[in-house]
Amino acid sequence: MIAQHYPILQVAIPLIAAPLCSLLPKSRLPWLFATVISWFTFIISLFLMQHVRSHGVVTYALGNWAAPWGIQYHIDVISAFVLVIVSAIASITLLASRKLVENEISASKHSLFYAAFLLCLTGLLGIVATGDAFNVFVFLEISSLSSYALIAMGENRKALTAAYEYLIMGTIGATFILIGIGLLYMQTGTLNMLDLQVRIHEIDGFRSVHAAFAFFTVGICLKLALFPLHHWLPNAYAYAPSIISIFLAATATKVALYLLYRVFYTIFGFEFSFDTLNLGYILLPLSIIAIVISAFTAIYQPDVKRLLAYSSLGQIGYMTLGIAIGTQAGLIASIIHLFNHAFIKGSLFLCMACIVSRIHSNQLVHLAGAAKVMPWTCAAFVVGGLALIGVPLTSGFISKWYLVLAVLENDWWWLAIIVLFTSLLSVIYIWRVVEQMYFHEPHDKCVGVKQEAPLLLLICTWVMILSTIYFGINTSYPVEMATLAAEALLN
């Protein structure tokens, strides 16, 4: 039955497609090919989701080697959910990408660009699909290496230094994860995550298991860009080609967060992470600092893509805050925000891509009066901004609502106040952009612009924007998924 092969098809299709894509001639073909492949992965992820919901966990033994020895792909609710998010964002960004790539990347590199994009997608999907700790490291490096190359393709030469810094930090992070895997293997003799879970409980109390936990946490938090390990992120997102900013902002940190769930809840287990090692004590203050500092920094950014990148750091803080609360409600809030933020930040970066495609600048001052020449794009930015702030009837509100509920469940009034206060700060930085767009005389850069963004790009932007409104009104899907996923992770 084909359903059993979904997990491997999910990863293998883009992996095989990537080298094929690099061989395609200079034309629209690479774009078309990459887009079709990404829609394939999206459809598979939907089937997989359907299958997981009706039949429970799907497992796939690679090469038919049974679980603890061979590599096993293990798809439960949370993996299926994140697979859907990643492949959905990939297929929408690739569909929107043709004009953007033509503008920003020289024609001779198109096929290589799309090949690297597919490799990055492979890596991200692989991390989520696999149930083997070492396989996670391999896929992590596949996605990271291709994203270093993709970021370096940005027009501004600062993209190179941003990519270099990301390479150094990313490699240290991945090597830390590798050390963690090594220490765990030393103690347990297994690499299978479910097997690890059982064996760690049996040998509770070894110092090297504690060290492995620390290495995993720090390594993944480097990839996640949690304060104070976030320094690489703003430049990488700001100077990458527009299409890459959209894709990485919406998926890469989300997959790192997924990995954090896996390590905390599946491999080490809730009791070990939160009761034995008191993870909450370290994660809670770091999350709060990340939320507050990044909101203040975002207010002073002259570059809108950098502003959105700093806002991303704060949103990551909300997600880790959900974990740090250490209750099921907190975890649910974290997963809901993972889902909603992927779409919100994806749509905001898409708006910026629309603007860059016509105005050719990310600078805030150059956006003055943009609403007169690009009304649809700017309207989309306003709606996306409202969702980011968390205004009712948008998906951002649902995230904040569940987060505040989870906080209040623990009677932490002060924390609820911080969450609301930082939402007000996000009003300020979104308002700065909206004010420039709507209430200023057009800047010279805007005057020459005759038309809206390319139609396909604009349609994709509005699809994403409307999805944030849809999931703000009809919340049943993300909430139900997050609840099921949290229950599965905690038991």
Binding site: F134, Y148, L160, I172
Partner: protein
């Protein structure tokens, strides 16, 4: 105490290299030297993995009459993969450094930061 150190000397070497590598990455401002530091750091992890696969008195994992005790081959396989990853990382890193040198005319971090500041 001395025996404890000498029995675990490959772990000590691994820790020493790890710290040296990380220190180079953090301390040096030359982009090329940073990459070399990163390489040393990664190599130390390879040694850690290979050490933990060693079985006392075990031979290389080849099926041959007369040998019953083998070293664990799995860490070797893992590290072969990790070496490939490390080579790829170095290649991408060096390519970036070459490009940075082409467009900034420098591979010193401080000089590049200075150029970037002047641009703004």
């Amino acid at each position: 105490m001395l025996e404890y150190i000498s029995n675990h000397y490959n772990y000590w070497v691994s820790i020493l290299l790890m710290m040296a590598g990380l220190y180079i990455v953090i301390d040096h401002t030359n982009l090329l030297k940073k990459l070399i530091g990163l390489n040393i750091f990664q190599t130390s992890v390879f040694i850690l993995f290979i050490s933990l696969g060693k079985v006392d008195g075990g031979t290389a994992p080849i099926l041959e009459k007369g040998y019953s005790s083998f070293s664990n081959p799995l860490p070797h396989v893992l590290i072969l993969t990790a070496i490939v990853v490390s080579v790829a990382t170095t290649a991408v890193g060096l390519a970036l450094v070459v490009n940075i040198n082409n467009r900034f005319n420098s591979i010193e971090e401080e000089e590049i930061e200075q150029i970037e500041l002047e641009e703004e």
